[in-house]
Amino acid sequence: MKRLTVFLLLIPMALMLMNCAGEKPAAKKLDVPDWYLNPPQAEDAIYQAGDAVKVSMALAKEAADARARDAIARTIELKVSTMLKDFMQQSGAGQDAEAIEFTSVVSKQVANNVLRGCKIVKREMKVEGNQYHAYSLAEYNLNSLINETLNEARKQKALYNEAKANLGFEELEKEIQKLEAVGK
């Protein structure tokens, strides 16, 4: 009886050791589109991905599209805003209320405008239980970003003049041309 008990106790231990000695289980690959984890990169375009899980397929697609587009808008707004803030700082008008307003209005409006040219170029839909997981990839071509920013800055020129910046508006226009490097 004693031997039987020892034998029975040894079985789970042996099984545990066998399990440890075995090959490591392969890491389970996530069922996520490659372009979601590693969005494409281009010199003249920016890409952002979005995803959403919803019971309705149509709603999942809408939400994923909206998130991808929002990510593009935020990237553009941040880039334009940073560029304008740096420029205002250098010209000595960085903290003026008018300078802050000019920077905010221009960057927000540019982000809004660029969305008109923003396209959803890839989508994938996965079924997870009774829900749909939608993935969307948004693309924005940077070719029109400089023109959009120049046009918007010109519209808000009055605000710029009120900021009493030491540098002329032509200097700002030159700085805007550097936005070409935004996707690099």
């Binding site: 959403a52 397929m57 149509a58 939400a63 929002d70 809004n112 923003c118 396209k119 839909m125 749909y132």
Partner: protein, 253 residues
Amino acid sequence: MNSSPISLMTKLLAVHLLIPVLLLAQKQFPAWFAQLPEAREGQVLIVGYAGRYTKLPKAHDAAVSNALKTLCQYYQMQLKFDLIELSDGRMQITNPIFEKSINTSLIDQFAVNISVLDSLPTEEGYFVLISYPPSGKKFEHSNPKSDWGPKPDWIDDLPRQKGYVFGVGQVARYAHWLRGWRDADDYARFDLAKSLQLETESIRAEKRDNRMTKTTILKRQSIDFVLKKANIVARWYDQATDTYYSLCRAPRQ
């Protein structure tokens, strides 16, 4: 092995519920419903579809009426879309609103100026292909198809064609094929409009204490747009997942 009475009842109920869905599923369709033929210059080709009627002439009229409404939409439709999403880390509420307005006053004028190029009655419905203005050319009659073929590329990668924009609509698990296509077609139109014009607002608020950061995001995207010359050019149905896909095309405006 005997089933318990409850599981047997569940199975019977499932079969009972499935029968109407299977009856309302779409089994046949004309080739031009899945892929619209290219129109000649100055010609517009539009597909119309209707459900099952006991009398064929009524089904024909309903399909032509549907095609005429789509023709009105082709020339001009006002699309309003508003999506508000609130997320605070714990929950996400997405509330989209879709509104479509069509000027149907032109229907009577169109009705006398079209020709039905082809029509196909099937077991589940009636399909017509119309031409505006009327076409004198003979159109090759389409036999009913029942195989949708492999998944087209445009579902995952939007087509790129110079001078045109595209939009994809997709819906799933509809009890009736008619509603499935109607909604997939409309979602494709909205999708296209969103790539032409979109207004966005986004508010992010971050609240930090010693241990954690709570982010609240309020996002809004909207369109109020008149879409012109948008047409559904391709459709695909995925039988495995009961999903309807529509591809809409319009010239860049």
